[in-house]
Structures are given as structure tokens and as C-alpha cells.
């Protein structure tokens, strides 16, 4: 991103960029660079004015609506378009700003979103060390393991009946539908 583009961007911030420059800016190959530059400056401006992003977005939506109205005018009455255009001249940089702000805002939002979800995927389970430590502190010594394979016939029958009953509570009862049924059939299978 060269200095001329930065100048344009800067001018847009002040509502003073000319149209050609803005179009050149919008057609710049590295839109991500443009966005991040714009975003940084917006943040700086926000900080300096102690404003916040939300307020900007309110302004933005109003601008969008106004611009949309203008668009309808143009199509329905081309003869007055010149006049309309002239009236709205001052508004052009605002529209460009609106667009950029939305693109930037949305892009940034999407970026945060995906970053979040990546984090979530990674943390889907509770961090191991932390919870294990908690567990051992609060619940005490490890639980005695019983191998199902080691049970004799009568013991296994007892256990499998419990498994089935529990699975049944889940499937029909808990409304877990097919998951519950799966547990049921899985429990009644001779897999052990």
C-alpha cells in the first residue's frame, strides 16, 4: 500500500477524499491491507474522540438508508438524476466510509468469530491438568476399577440388566431418541 493510497484513506477519514482516489483505493489489490489500515486509524480516531464503534454503526445505518433512497430515485426518474447527484455530492465520501466501515467491521467480526471458534474447538474439553487436579482434590483417591470381562455369568446378567434399564430411561424417557436407543441396543449386544 503506497503513500498515495494512505493519503486517500486519510482524506476519507476526514470526509475529504476525491472520488477517483477512493475508487482507486477500493480497487487496490490488497484490500486486506486497506481494511486493516482503515481499522487502525478508526480505532485511533475513536480513542482520540472517546467515541466507540457502536455509535459509528448507528450513523452508518442511517447513511445506508439515505443512500438507498437516492438509488431508487435515480432509477425511477433519470431526468432529475443530475440534480439529485449534485445535492448528494457531499454525501459520497460518507457512503464510501459507510461501506468500508461495514466491510472492515464485518471482516473483523468474522475474523474474531473464527478465532473464537478455533479456540473453542481447542478447548472443547476442559484443560486436562486443571480438571484432573481439581478432581483429585475434591473427590479423593482413584476409583477402583472392575473389569466387565472378569464378571461371571450371574454378575454380568445383573450388570447388563441395569445397563439396559438405564438405557431405556434415556431413550424413551429423556427424549434422547436414537442416542438412547443406540445405547440400549449397544448394551444388549453380546460385545463383552
Amino acid at each position: 500500500m503506497d503513500d498515495r493510497l494512505k493519503e486517500t484513506l486519510s482524506a476519507m477519514m476526514d470526509d475529504e477524499a476525491d472520488e477517483l482516489s477512493v475508487r482507486r483505493l477500493l480497487s487496490h489489490a490488497r484490500q486486506d491491507e486497506v481494511r486493516s489500515q482503515w481499522q487502525r486509524w478508526q480505532q485511533v480516531r475513536d480513542l482520540m474522540h472517546q467515541g466507540n464503534l457502536a455509535e459509528d454503526r448507528v450513523d452508518v445505518s442511517a447513511g445506508v438508508r439515505e443512500a438507498l433512497d437516492g438509488g431508487v430515485h435515480k432509477r425511477s426518474s433519470p431526468t432529475v438524476s443530475g440534480k439529485v447527484r449534485r445535492e448528494r455530492n457531499w454525501h459520497w465520501p460518507a457512503v464510501a466510509m459507510v461501506t468500508l466501515a461495514l466491510v472492515v467491521g464485518f471482516g473483523a467480526g468474522a475474523g474474531w468469530e473464527s478465532a473464537d471458534s478455533n479456540g473453542e474447538m481447542a478447548n472443547a474439553g476442559i484443560p486436562a491438568e486443571q480438571s484432573e487436579a481439581l478432581e483429585s482434590e475434591t473427590v479423593g483417591e482413584p476409583v477402583q476399577e472392575v473389569a466387565l470381562q472378569g464378571l461371571d455369568d450371574e454378575q454380568w446378567e445383573q450388570v447388563s440388566r441395569y445397563l439396559l434399564e438405564h438405557a431405556q430411561h434415556n431413550s424413551v424417557g429423556a427424549g434422547r431418541g436414537s442416542v438412547g436407543y443406540a445405547r440400549l441396543v449397544s448394551a444388549s449386544g453380546s460385545g463383552y
Binding site: 447527484r85 455530492n89 484432573e132 473427590v139 472392575v146 447388563s160 441395569y162 434399564e165 438405564h166 430411561h169
Partner: protein
């Protein structure tokens, strides 16, 4: 008013400018709309849809279910019509058999599988009412988060992560189909992130056109039929005759009272996970003390001696072994007479 520094002549009258502005504004509006959609459909929205969608969606498909080292697959047809749920399940592995359900009537046709009596499989207690009427604040015990989009069995899905807030329960991950909210995949995970139980549709067709003959029993064999909760009981209070629980994990409330012979069993659910507690007089056999795990399911057994009478205490559920043990340890038999064991 705006004052121009450069005074550039290109500032005025340019037909492209308006076109550009229009395109840009339309694009901006579309983007805004998409943004609003994702914002309103938060984790709570999907959680609310989960329950109804399980019953009220009509579909057919095949799903796999894995727990521990065991994998099974099952074919399912599910229809919701005139307020009645019809379902037919056919296990795809091992011996043939099927389960057909129409409303509260369930028919099991399973081949002889050795030692298990089928009439023990189907409960006679009023379960559905007790469970389905419960509006559990799942988010009190789990931290619901949207974890992105995916595609399962050809359908666009949204992934919902429910992270357990304490170590008393497992974390769950649910994948819900976007248009219906149908559960198409789920994981139960241990605190270390290990997948203990895995459920997933491998083929799925969500459709309203399911004919009657898809719900007809086709397997020959011994049929076991039961009516589930034909009558609504005034209170779904569990029957804990003769015994009490001194402790149970936060959020788990009594949900059903199955009857199995002399046994006294109560199911507890926190809205996602469930465990059942069985207390019954010990028979001649001796049960070991400790926990067995099959995937996410823990079986914790112990024997308890009260007034010279032995009892089996068994906790079965999708809960960590330590939780199961703590529940089992907190069972107090306070009235041996309630079990009708006098003279045995």
C-alpha cells in the same frame, strides 16, 4: 458542511459514482442481514430446539454409535404425524431384530440374546412425561458455546459445545441440522478431551414423505410389547421407598421411577446427562465393588449391609466414575422392610 481541501473537480457529477455507491450499499445491507442472523441464533436458541426437533422431525437414515471399543450402526425411520411419533429401528450389525414404536407403544423384536430377558428391557413406568416436561436450565451446569459450522451426512449443521462447569459431569458436543435442529452427531468427552461416546448419522434424509409401511414390523421372532405411561400420574415423584440419597451432583433431579421386580430404581437427569440408581436386596451372588466403564457410561457397584441384610447398590449413567462412586456411597437404606426382604 463539508469543505474541500483539494477542490478536486472529480468530486461532482459522475454516473459511475452512483452505481458504485448503490452496489456498495446493497452489499453492505446483505452483509448486515447475515450478521444479524448469526447474532440472533445463539447457543440458547439451538438448545431450545434440540428437544422438540428430536421428536417432531421426520427423517430416515443410518447412524453409527461408538462407545469404548464397540461400534454399532442402526437404521432408523422416524415420523411425526398428527402429534404421534412413529419410529422403527433396525440394528445393522450382529443378529437381526428391530424396535418399532408408535406413540407410547413399543414393540421389540430382538433375537434371543442369551441371558437378557426382553420384558426387562421395556419399562412400565411413566417416563416420558417426567422427562419431557422438565425444563432444565442446562446452561447452569454447562457452558453453551457455538463452535462453528460443519456438514454432516450432507446437511449443513451448527456445532454446539456444552462444556461442563464442574468435574461432576462430562462435556458434550452436539451437531444440529440447521433447518430443523435435528441432532445428527454428538460427542461425550471426558475432562481431558477424550471422546468417550460418539453418535453420528452417516446417511440421512429429512423428509415428510415417509409411508406407513416403513413402520411395519418385518422381523420374525418373539415380540415384546409395552405401553409406555398410558396414564399421566399426578406427580412423577420417584419411588425411593426405603432408601435415600444423602448427596447427588448439583442439577440432577429425579426423573423416573422404573419398576423392576423388587428393585428400587430412580433416574436422575440434569437435562443432558442421566444416571440411574438401583437399590435391591442382594441375591446369593456376590458383586464386586468398583466402577466399570463402557465409553461414557459408568457402572459403579457396591454392596451394603443393613440390619444383617445385604443390598446391591448400583449407579449407572453417563457420568464420571468418581461422581458415580460418590452417589453410590451416599445411598442410605433406612427401611429394610420396604424392600419386602423379611424372611428371605
Amino acid at each position: 458542511m463539508h469543505k474541500s481541501v483539494t477542490g478536486s473537480p472529480t468530486r461532482c457529477l459522475d454516473p459511475y459514482r452512483r452505481l458504485l455507491a448503490m452496489v456498495v450499499v446493497v452489499a453492505a445491507c446483505l452483509a448486515g442481514q447475515a450478521f444479524a442472523d448469526t447474532v440472533t441464533r445463539d447457543a440458547e436458541y439451538w438448545l431450545d430446539r434440540l428437544g422438540p426437533a428430536l421428536n417432531m422431525t421426520s427423517y430416515r437414515g443410518v447412524f453409527v454409535y461408538a462407545r469404548g471399543d464397540q461400534v454399532s450402526s442402526m437404521q432408523i425411520a422416524h415420523r411425526y404425524q398428527d402429534g404421534v411419533v412413529e419410529e422403527r429401528l433396525v440394528p445393522q450389525d450382529g443378529a437381526s431384530g428391530e424396535i418399532v414404536r408408535k406413540g407410547m407403544r413399543v414393540v421389540c423384536v430382538l433375537p434371543d440374546h442369551g441371558r437378557i430377558q426382553l420384558d426387562q428391557v421395556i419399562p412400565s413406568g411413566p417416563f416420558a412425561e417426567a422427562f419431557s416436561s422438565q425444563l432444565m436450565p442446562v446452561s447452569r451446569w454447562y457452558e453453551p458455546e457455538l463452535a462453528g459450522d460443519d456438514r454432516i451426512a450432507g446437511y449443513d449443521v451448527v456445532k454446539l459445545a456444552l462444556k461442563a462447569k464442574d468435574e461432576l459431569r462430562y462435556s458434550h458436543q452436539l451437531w444440529l441440522e440447521k433447518s430443523t435442529g435435528l441432532l445428527v452427531k454428538s460427542h461425550v468427552r471426558s475432562s481431558s478431551g477424550e471422546v468417550l461416546e460418539h453418535f453420528q448419522f452417516t446417511s440421512l434424509e429429512i423428509t415428510e414423505s415417509l409411508s406407513d409401511n416403513e413402520f411395519v414390523i418385518r422381523t420374525e421372532g418373539e415380540e415384546v410389547a409395552r405401553e409406555l405411561a398410558p396414564k399421566k400420574t399426578a406427580s412423577p415423584a420417584p419411588r425411593m421407598d426405603g432408601w435415600t440419597l444423602d448427596w447427588r451432583p448439583d442439577g440432577f433431579i429425579p426423573a423416573a421411577a422404573p419398576r423392576s421386580g423388587k428393585g428400587q430404581a430412580v433416574a436422575f437427569s440434569d437435562g443432558l446427562a442421566a444416571f440411574s440408581v438401583f437399590v435391591e436386596p442382594a441375591r446369593k451372588i456376590v458383586m464386586p465393588t468398583g466402577a466399570s466403564r463402557i465409553g461414557a457410561t459408568t457402572v459403579y457397584m457396591k454392596q451394603l449391609e443393613v440390619d444383617d441384610v445385604d443390598f446391591f447398590v448400583t449407579v449407572v449413567g453417563e457420568i464420571p466414575p468418581r461422581t458415580a462412586r460418590k452417589v453410590a456411597e451416599s445411598v442410605k437404606v433406612d427401611d429394610t422392610l420396604a424392600f419386602g426382604v423379611v424372611g428371605q
